[in-house]
C-alpha cells in the first residue's frame, strides 16, 4: 500500500509541473496586464512601463517562468502586488477557509447523497424513490449562486436567524459556534447541488449490487434486511461510489468559487476570481497550484480508500 501511495504521489509531480506551465502561459496570454489593473484609467504608457519594470514583467517569458519556478522550489511564492503581501500567506489563509467550507459540503453531500441513493435503490420505483429522485433532480438543476441568494433572503433578511455573509461576526464572536452559524448557509447551498450527483450514482451502484448473488445469499441465510443493505450491499457499492466522491471534491472546490463570492466567504475561490480580474499573476499562479495539489491529494485519498475496500486493487 505504501508503495502504491508513493507511486501515485510521484505521478502527481508531472501533473503539477505541466499545470504550472499552463497557468503561467494562460496568465501571460490573456489581454490586459497587471500594470493596467494597478493604474486603472491612469495607465499612461510611461507609467505602465515603469510598473512593468518594477515587477520584472519586461523580461522574456521563459526567464519570468524560470525565476518564478526557481523561487517556488525554494518555497518562495512571491508577493501579490495587488494585496501587497506574500502570496503564500494569503493562499494558506484562504485555503483554510475553503477547506472548512468545501470539506463540510463534501461530508454533507456524501452522507445525504449516499443515504438518498440507498433509499431510492432499495425502494426502486416506489413512491419514496420518486420523491427522493424528484428532490435530487431539483438539487442538481438549481444554479448554486441563485440558491445561495434565496437562502440569504429567507434566513438572513426575512427571518433574521442566520448571518448573510462572512465567516465570523465582524465584532466580537470568532468562536466555533460563530463559525458554524456563518457556515450553515454556504455549506448547505454547496452541498445541496453536489448531493444530487452522489445520490444518482449511489442509486445506480446499489441497484447493480442488489442484483448480485451474494446479496441473494445474504438474504437467503435470513439476515436482517438492514444488515443486507448496509453491511453487505453498500460496502460493495462504495467501491464505485468513493471515486465519485473524489470527483465531487473537485466539483465542490469549483462550486465554492460562486458560493464564496455570494456569501463573502474568504476562501480560495473568491480570491482567485478577484486575482484573475486584477491580473495578480503570482497570486493566481500560486493559488491554482495549491488548489490543484489539494485536488490531487483528495483524489489520491479516494483511490487509497477504494483500494482498501476492494481487495482486487490491493495488489
Amino acid at each position: 500500500m505504501t508503495a502504491y501511495i508513493i507511486k501515485r504521489l510521484l505521478t502527481a509531480i508531472p501533473v503539477i509541473i505541466g499545470l504550472s506551465v499552463i497557468v503561467f502561459l494562460i496568465m501571460a496570454m490573456i489581454p490586459g496586464d497587471p500594470a493596467l489593473a494597478i493604474l486603472g484609467s491612469y495607465a499612461t504608457p510611461e507609467n505602465v512601463e515603469r510598473i512593468n519594470r518594477d515587477l520584472g514583467l519586461d523580461r522574456p517569458l521563459p526567464e519570468q517562468y524560470l525565476i518564478w519556478i526557481t523561487n517556488l522550489l525554494q518555497g518562495d511564492f512571491g508577493r501579490s502586488y495587488i494585496l501587497n503581501r506574500p502570496v503564500i500567506d494569503e493562499v494558506l489563509e484562504r485555503l483554510g477557509a475553503t477547506m472548512i467550507l468545501a470539506g463540510t459540503a463534501l461530508v454533507l453531500c456524501s452522507i445525504f447523497g449516499i443515504l438518498a441513493g440507498v433509499v431510492s435503490a432499495v425502494r426502486q420505483f416506489g413512491w419514496t424513490d420518486r420523491v427522493v429522485t424528484f428532490f435530487v433532480l431539483i438539487g442538481i438543476s438549481m444554479p448554486a449562486f441563485w440558491l445561495g441568494l434565496i437562502f440569504i433572503l429567507l434566513f438572513a433578511v426575512q427571518w433574521r436567524i442566520l448571518p448573510a455573509s462572512g465567516m465570523y461576526a465582524v465584532y466580537g464572536g470568532g468562536d466555533l459556534s460563530d463559525l458554524i452559524r456563518h457556515l450553515i448557509l454556504p455549506a448547505a447551498t454547496l452541498a445541496i447541488v453536489a448531493t444530487g450527483v452522489v445520490a444518482r450514482l449511489t442509486r445506480a451502484a446499489m441497484l447493480e449490487v442488489l442484483r448480485q448473488d451474494f446479496v441473494r445469499t445474504a438474504r437467503a441465510k435470513g439476515l436482517d434486511e438492514r444488515a443486507v443493505v448496509y453491511r453487505h450491499a453498500l460496502r460493495a457499492a462504495l467501491v464505485s461510489i468513493i471515486p465519485v466522491i473524489g470527483v465531487q471534491a473537485g466539483f465542490v472546490l469549483g462550486g465554492s468559487v460562486y458560493i464564496e463570492t455570494v456569501f463573502q466567504w474568504p476562501g480560495l475561490g473568491a480570491m482567485l476570481v478577484k486575482a484573475v480580474s486584477t491580473r495578480d499573476l503570482l497570486l493566481v499562479q500560486g493559488g491554482v497550484l495549491v488548489a490543484a495539489a489539494l485536488y490531487v491529494l483528495v483524489n489520491l485519498a479516494a483511490d487509497v480508500a477504494q483500494a482498501m475496500l476492494d481487495p482486487r486493487l490491493k495488489s
Binding site: 490573456i30 489581454p31 490586459g32 496586464d33 493596467l36 489593473a37 494597478i38 486603472g40 484609467s41 491612469y42 495607465a43 499612461t44 504608457p45 510611461e46 507609467n47 515603469r50 510598473i51 518594477d54 508577493r79 495587488i82 494585496l83 501587497n84 503581501r85 489563509e93 484562504r94 477557509a97 452522507i111 445525504f112 443515504l115 440507498v118 433509499v119 441568494l149 440569504i152 433572503l153 438572513a156 433578511v157 433574521r160 436567524i161 442566520l162 448571518p163 448573510a164 455573509s165 462572512g166 465567516m167 465570523y168 465582524v170 465584532y171 466580537g172 459556534s177 458554524i180 452559524r181 450553515i184 438492514r226 463570492t261 455570494v262 463573502q264 474568504p266 480570491m271 478577484k274 480580474s277
Partner: protein, 521 residues
Amino acid sequence: MNAILRGVASATLALALALAGPAAAQTPPNVLVVGQIAEPASLDPHVSTAANDFRIHVNIYDGLVRNKPGTLEIEPALATDWTISEDGLTYTFSLREGVTFHDGSPFDAETVKFNFDRMLDETHPFYETGPFPLSFNFASVEDVTVVDEMTVEFTLNEPFAPFMSNLASPTGLVVSPAAVEEFGEDYGRHPSGTGPFKFEEWESNARVVVSRNDAYWNGAPSLEAIVFRPITDANTRVAEMLSGGIDVLVETPPDNVATFRQDANFTVHEAVGPHVWYAMLNVKEGPFADKRVRQAVNYAVNKESLVDDVLQGTAEVSAGPIPPAFNWAHNDEVEPYPYDPERARELLAEAGAEGAELTFYVTEGGSGMLDPVPMGTAIQADLAAVGLEVDIETYEWNTFLAEVNPGLEGKADMAEMAWMTSDPDTLPYLTLRTEAWPENGGFNSSYYSNPQVDELLNSARTSTDPDERAELYKEVQAIVHEDAPWLFVANWKQNAVTTANVEGFQLQPDFSLVLRNVSKN
C-alpha cells in the same frame, strides 16, 4: 432507514436553532460597520489607486490641506497656512504644532519631505516600498525643502495650479516615516497617520478596524471604532444592509435605491461627484471626423431616459467635460444637448452619414463605469432609431483599457469611458489636448484636437488666479460642447445608505468617506 433520515433532519434543525441566537445580525453600539465594495489593496495612501481604499485612508490620515466638508474648497489641515510665490513656483507651508502620529512619532517638516521624496525620488531609501502609481499628481515638484522645523517649501518646475487640490487628494495624505522605516514594504498593512482614527487590525478578507484617536488635533471623534467590511457581491451587500449586518452601505446598486428610500429604517444620501461618463468619438477617421455627425449622436441619444431608467436617477445628464461638482469652474450656461432625433437626422443627412456603420467599444464593468452594458445597448438603440448601425464589442475592464488607451484608430468609432478627478484640470488636460494623443503618452484616445482648447488648458494650468482659471475652464466647456468630441452622457451622483441611528453622515464631492463627524446611537 427512514428513522436515520428523520434523526439527521431533526439533529440538523436542533443545531440550527441552538446556534441561531436572536442577535443574528446586529452591529455593536457606537461602532460603525461600513460595507465596502472590496478588500483594500493597501492602507498606504501613496500606493493605492482605488476609491474603495481612500474611504479608509481619509479616516486614518490627514494631508497638509483638505477639502472643506461638502465642498471642493481647500481648508487647512496639517498645514495651518501657506503662501504662494508670485511666479507660482514656490509654495511655503507653516505646519501645525504638537501633532503626533498614532505610533508616537512627531509630525514636522522632515516628515513632509520624507513623504514626497519617497514617492518622487528614485534614489530615496524607501522608494522601493512603492510603486506609487498616482505620484504623477506631484510630477511638477522639483524639490521639497525643510526651512525650519515647522516650515516646509515646495519648489515646482513649472506653475501648476491644481497643486493645492492634489495635495488635498488621498495621494497627498501624510504617512509616518517612523512606521515606513519599521515595516518597509509591509507598511501598507501597518499604517500610521495623524488622523481621527488609528489603525487597529486588518484581518484579511474579513475586516479592517480603526479606533478613536483621543488625541486628534481637530477634536476626538464620537465613534469608538469603525469596522470596514469587504462585501464584493452587490446583492449580498444589500442583503447585509437589510438584515442589519452593516450600518453604512456605499455604492448602492441603482435597482435597490428605491427600496431603501421607502423604508423609514434607512436614510439614502446623495451627492454630486466630480465624475463624468461619456462615449469618446473617433475624431480622426470615419463618420465622426465630421463635427455634424458628432453633434447628431449627441442629439440622438435620450440622456434623460438613460439616467432615469437605466441608472434610476443615480446620475444627472452631463453637458460637457467638466462636471458641475467643480462649481467654481463649471459653466452653467452650457446646456446639455436636448433629445432631438429630428435634428439628429437632419445633421446626418447634411453630413451624408445616414445609415453609417459604427463600432462601439463597451466595457463589462470598471471603476466609475456605472452600468456600462445596459447603457451601451440603450445608446445603440437610440442611434439605431436615427438610422445609425452600431456594432457593440464588449470587453472585460482590463482588456478594454488595453484596447482603448492606445487609441481607437483602425479599431473603433466610439468607446465608453468614465473619470473621477480631484481638479477640473485633470480630465480635459489628459484627454482633450493635442499633446495628449496616445502616442505622446496621454489619454486622448479619440484624437480630438483644437489649438484653442490646447491653449486655454495650458494657461489654466499655469494661472495662479482662481477667477482667471475659472473663466478659462468655462470657455473650454463651451468650445468642447460645440465641437462634441464626446457623446456627453452623465455625471454620477454618489449614493450611500445609512441606518436610522447613524447621525452626522455626509457624502463628500471628492468621493471620500469622512467619518470624523459621524455618531451612532
